[in-house]
Amino acid sequence: MKKLVNRRLFCGIILGLFSKYFAYKSFADGRPFRDRFQSYRQTFRVEPDKEEAERIVKNIIKGRKIVPNLVDLDIPDIAEDGNVVPVSFSINCDMSASDYPKRVHVLGLENPFPEIAIYEFFPEGGKAEVSFRCRLRKSSYLIVIADMHDGSVGMKKKYIDVMLGACS
């Protein structure tokens, strides 16, 4: 009995509690959890996992009510190639210290790794508009979720047709 409750076990318990606390904290931030465990040498996966994508989306929204008309998307309906899909989005807010998006998540639901990007804004930003180019594996929904400073959340999704190569 004495040997069981030794120093190592004690440290282990404390560490375990700590790690649980940190894990909870990062969950609370709405970060998709996998990116922290994802080492760059173990990333081979071609088949998309729909459940995981849904879990990540759920993880970000966390049951909050979605505020309509918060996110504007400007993406072409048809992407000529899945490798380069021009995406631009803007968030309708005044970018004051009380009303700005903390994080904006961009997710492609049928990608092998659904997260595409997370953008972090600050009140100095002036305007929450970003344009960039992303990859989509095949025709699928692209979701943009804005996680606002005051806890509200906005979401918009759009179906994008990705052209497949003709001959091969």
Partner: protein
């Protein structure tokens, strides 16, 4: 050959004007899901995972990227400047290799005088 980093913005603005910053980085953004056709060896993931924009040392915008971002990534964003200063964009690699590109932004008030970040009169 050194990888290119490009940065473009309107260099002289009036106070409170929105500045659109466009960036382009030369990078293959290897997603980690591609195989060599002949040998079947997986190309390890190698992407820019973080882009940080600082203005006078303060972070104004940050992008966290995953493997779903295109090769040679383009990024455009806005910020608002009240004083002249240094724009600094930092691209961070999977091997934590950082590359920088910096530029000076001149902010003028209504009369056309430059608003310097440090007050020299003291």
């Amino acid at each position: 050959m050194e990888k290119q980093r490009k940065l473009k913005y309107k260099e002289t603005v009036t106070q409170g004007e929105l500045v659109k910053v466009k960036t382009l980085a030369e990078h293959e953004m290897e997603s980690g899901v591609r195989r060599d056709e002949k040998t079947g060896v997986i190309y390890p993931r190698l992407i820019i995972y973080k882009v940080t924009a600082r203005y006078n040392g303060k972070i104004v915008f940050q992008a966290n990227w995953f493997s779903g971002v295109s090769a040679n990534p383009y990024l455009a964003f806005y910020f608002r400047a009240n004083k002249s200063g240094l724009i600094e964009i930092e691209w961070e690699d999977d091997y934590s290799k950082s590359t920088f590109k910096r530029g000076y932004l001149k902010v003028l008030d209504k009369d056309g005088n430059e608003l310097l970040p440090i007050n020299h009169s003291i």
